[in-house]
């Protein structure tokens, strides 16, 4: 008698590719659109049932991930520097050895801050703004816009400023 050793889930045969109603027979009312589109109950034979995700693993957030990258980069750079120092100490001709360029990583390829002079644009209309209101800090295009600015409440003024990236908490 041949013993069948089940290594993995047996193939379930060809399943329906088009999503159909999940349980059209049970309820008299047809399933809702969302139920029709849901694929929760579809068989997924291709998944490995023995794979247990590390349930204690918490999804890392961006800050943690980037911090980890930075750490790793720093360690590598230090190791590189040490090895170079060693090689220099040993008197080996280090000029021929191709220097391993610093590997780019997510944080290093980010663009640097701008060095070009910034132009001033009106916070209300978007046109050029030769003037700035000293009381609120908003930039404006001409005196009619200034009249409008004077009538704004502080909450709206703060919103305009934050759209430009100026987040003054004191005022």
């Amino acid at each position: 008698m041949a013993t069948m050793k089940v290594l993995a889930m047996p193939p379930k045969g060809s399943t329906k590719k088009k999503p159909g109603p999940s349980d059209g027979a049970a309820t008299p009312q047809g399933p809702s659109l969302a139920e029709q589109l849901s694929y929760l109950h579809y068989p997924r034979p291709f998944k490995n049932p023995y794979y247990n995700k590390n349930v204690n693993r918490r999804a890392k957030n961006l800050k943690a991930v980037l911090g980890q990258e930075r750490e790793r980069d720093r360690v590598k750079r230090e190791a590189l520097r040490n090895s170079k120092a060693e090689r220099a100490a040993q008197g080996v001709d280090g000029m021929d050895v191709e220097e391993e360029e610093e590997e780019p990583n997510y944080s290093s390829i980010e663009a640097p801050p701008s060095v070009l002079p910034q132009r001033h644009y009106c916070d209300i209309t978007g046109l050029e703004a030769p003037y700035t209101d000293p009381a609120t800090g908003l930039r404006y295009h001409d005196k009619s816009v200034y009249a409008l600015i004077q009538s704004l409440s502080p909450g709206i003024v703060k919103d305009y400023l934050s759209a430009r990236g100026v987040n003054s908490i004191v005022k």
Partner: protein
């Protein structure tokens, strides 16, 4: 407004469609044992999947929602556009990508599940070599977890990672089948959360010289939404990010020279020419319209009620009259009684009177007289006769000297004196009123004559008066604002006044030495100072001025044809400039459709401009032009020339209009004039990355650069092989 101007087209939002079932995949039997490479383009917005043999991938929004339907308590798992089918599921949406980085692996697992289920994979493992895209210079954590997912959960035989921008470049510069890939070019990859500049030389991506700007389509549409919310703070409906995305894609465009455009837009007419109007759905207010018969009925009901009230009032009056007549009769009888009896003793008479409530006989006479007058008047009114003017009452006792009268007479005399003075005062007042009325009539007549004889002169006089009044009002307003500013002269003068009033020693030292005293209040005008320092009390002068102004304007409006409502004080003060009205056209309150409209004029160009100057929106990084210049600067001249001659734009956000002209205008000045610059856009900006990956998967060299299962087991998830299309991080 000219009648010739065409009415601007008003765009409406696209109607959101209910999601339907996805298009069916080809039967899996074709691929089950063929080991066809499986191509997955894992994008931040959309997931594209398919077998390498297909021409087009299947696409779906890269989002997953696990939702429990409230009515039936059934758990649902929805992917992509299907999330729109259930409104509650939208809040439970999870995306694998958080911004720029792949972090949520539960969501990724569910998304990949959907892709595989859709393709119909029914084998115990995903038995196809997989080529998957990752972001440029991805954090190794993301890659490690993705590899773990693919190898451990899905048991793929091999996995190749590539960069989507380079693959899109490959798709557009496909080498002949047996030749290796050796094109040069500078790839500008526009992604959802970032934009990257990737130089490619001899078919290899130079990863060490890549730069990335953290500004992409998502940040742009968020900025557009912020601008719209600032422009329309009281917009009736909520503008969703999907709608903003549509607006950004449809209406925004790049412009080659932003400062020139802005200069032209400061002219309100040009601003209007450039605006686009989008109509949002709005609710019509319910108007309770009554049909004419209803209105008639209501009017009749009201009339009846009025009549009833009138009848009631008449009845009560009649009753009172009858009552008063009865009283009069009784009192007359009483008086007659005393006369009749004649010899009734004083005391008895007095007792009788006080029993009735009268102190003296004179009081009785008074009451009788009053009642008599009242009854007579009432009878006259009923009869409908006109009221006769009252004869002048006589005050006989006033002239009689005091000694002649007794106590009662004195009292009478006092009373009569009061009555007389009151009467005279009333007569005088009446005469004054008449006189004033005559004066006014005379004035009006004079003015009319003047107006009719010399309209121009009269109107100019009126206008001068109006101007002086307006100047006075403006002055007063200016003084008021000056008072609010703490440092102004007016405010400081006011503080000085207050300090003086409140000072303990009001007299200056010199005067005091000479024996001076505080004479405040001797002159009535001194007290005016309290009016001056009290700025919150409304001053009567303002109202008087305003009423006179309104009168003058009214007369001018009726008689002077050249004086229009726009010259009146009201319209002059509320005049907001032409620029602001064309920037944000106001709609009357009765127009709900108008209030639900969004006008985009400067925002159409301002938002895409942020790609080249992210500091406009608060992100402190260099713009696209500067970054390209930085990247090019690190190359020697001949390589720079080959890069610049083939600048390649890819990614769905690159389809916004005007990008190529803008890049040309930005880069031409910083390049050598002899260097040839060529900017090419991807044939299909959204899908070309997938196509490139599929094309690569079909080449014979495909399997070499991937990580096989054995290699994964040995090296772990982070290490990959270095090849022309892949990342360099973690590679060997």
């Amino acid at each position: 407004m000219d009648i010739d101007e065409p009415t601007p087209t008003v765009y409406t939002l696209p109607i959101p469609q209910l999601p339907g079932p996805p298009p069916p995949a080809e039967p899996y039997a074709l691929h089950r044992d063929a080991h066809t490479p499986l191509v997955l383009d894992n994008g931040s917005t959309t997931l594209r999947w398919g077998f390498a043999t297909s021409a087009v991938p299947f696409t779906g929004l890269n989002a997953v929602a696990k939702y429990k339907e409230r009515r039936t308590n059934k758990p649902l798992l929805l992917f992509g556009e299907a999330i729109d089918a259930e409104s509650g599921a939208k809040s439970q949406t999870r995306t694998p990508w958080e911004g720029d980085v792949l972090l949520n692996f539960d969501a990724l697992e569910n998304a990949l599940d959907y892709a595989f289920v859709h393709l119909g994979i029914d084998t115990p493992t995903v038995n196809h070599p997989v080529i998957m895209s990752e972001r440029i210079c991805t954090p190794l954590h993301s890659r490690a977890l993705t590899s773990e997912l693919m190898f451990e959960l899905y048991n793929v035989p091999s996995l190749t990672y590539c960069v989507d921008g380079i693959m899109s470049f490959y798709a557009n510069h496909l080498p002949p089948p047996t030749a290796p890939f050796t094109s040069d070019g500078l790839v500008l990859s526009f992604n959802t959360h970032s934009t990257s500049v990737i130089p490619i030389l001899k078919g290899k991506g130079i990863m060490s010289h890549v730069q990335r700007i953290p500004w992409g389509a998502a940040q742009s549409s968020e900025y557009l939404l912020k601008l719209i919310q600032l422009k329309y703070p009281s917009f009736p409906t909520r503008v969703t990010s999907a709608q903003t995305n549509w607006m950004y894609r449809t209406f925004c465009s790049f412009t080659p020279s932003y400062p020139t455009l802005l200069k032209s837009l400061s002219n309100p007419k040009t601003l209007l020419a450039h605006e686009r109007i989008i109509q949002f759905p709005f609710l019509l207010p319910l108007s309770e319209e009554k049909s004419p018969s209803e209105l008639l009925r209501l009017a009749e009901k009201r009339k009846e009620q009025g009549k009833k009230l009138q009848e009631l009032a008449a009845k009560s009056r009649a009753d009172k009259l009858v009552q008063k007549e009865a009283d009069l009769e009784y009192l007359l009888d009483l008086r007659g009684e005393s006369e009749l009896t004649g010899k009734m003793s004083r005391k008895e008479w007095a007792a009788r009177l006080s029993a009735e409530g009268f102190e003296t006989e004179a009081a009785l006479e008074d009451t009788i007289k009053k009642l008599d007058v009242y009854v007579k008047k009432a009878r006259k009114k009923e009869a409908g006769e006109v009221d006769e003017p009252m004869e002048e009452p006589s005050f006989p006792l006033v002239d009689v000297p005091d000694e002649d009268l007794d106590e009662e007479g004195l009292k009478e005399k006092k009373k009569q004196k009061l009555l007389k003075s009151g009467w005279e005062f009333r007569v005088r007042a009446r005469k004054e009123k008449e006189r004033e009325r005559e004066e006014r009539e005379r004035e009006a007549k004079r003015e009319e004559e003047e107006r009719e004889t010399d309209l121009a002169g009269w109107s100019s006089k009126m206008r001068k008066e109006q101007e002086t009044l307006m100047a006075k009002i403006k002055d007063r307003a200016r003084r008021k604002t000056a008072l609010t500013d703490r440092k102004s002269a007016a405010a400081q003068a006011r503080m000085k006044n207050i300090a003086n009033l409140a000072a303990d020693d009001r007299v200056p030292k010199k005067k005091r030495k000479g024996g001076g005293e505080d004479m405040f209040g001797a002159d009535d005008a001194d007290w005016q100072i309290y009016r001056k320092i009290n700025i919150t009390a409304p001053s009567d002068d303002e109202e008087d001025d305003l009423t006179t102004l309104h009168e003058i304007e009214r007369k001018l409006l009726t008689y002077d044809p050249t004086f229009t409502p726009s010259h009146t004080h009201a319209s002059l003060t509320s005049l907001s400039s032409a620029l602001l009205t064309s920037f944000r056209p106001p709609y009357p309150d009765t127009d709900p459709a108008g209030h639900a409209r969004i006008h985009l004029s400067t925002e159409r160009f301002r938002v895409p401009e942020t790609y080249f100057a992210p500091s406009m929106a608060g992100t402190d990084t260099a713009g696209l032009g500067e970054v390209i210049a930085n990247v090019l600067a690190r190359f020697p001249e001949h390589e720079k020339a080959s890069l610049v001659s083939n600048i390649f734009l890819t990614g769905a956000p690159s389809q916004v209009g005007g990008l190529r002209e803008k890049l040309e205008a930005t880069l031409r000045p910083i390049l050598d004039p002899e260097m040839r610059m060529g900017i090419v856009q991807a044939a299909d900006a959204g899908l070309d990355a997938w196509r490139g990956m599929a094309a690569y998967a079909r080449t014979p060299e495909f399997g070499v650069n991937g990580v096989s299962r054995a290699e994964y087991d040995e090296w772990g998830g982070e290490r990959v092989k270095r090849w022309w299309g892949g990342n360099r991080t973690g590679s060997s």
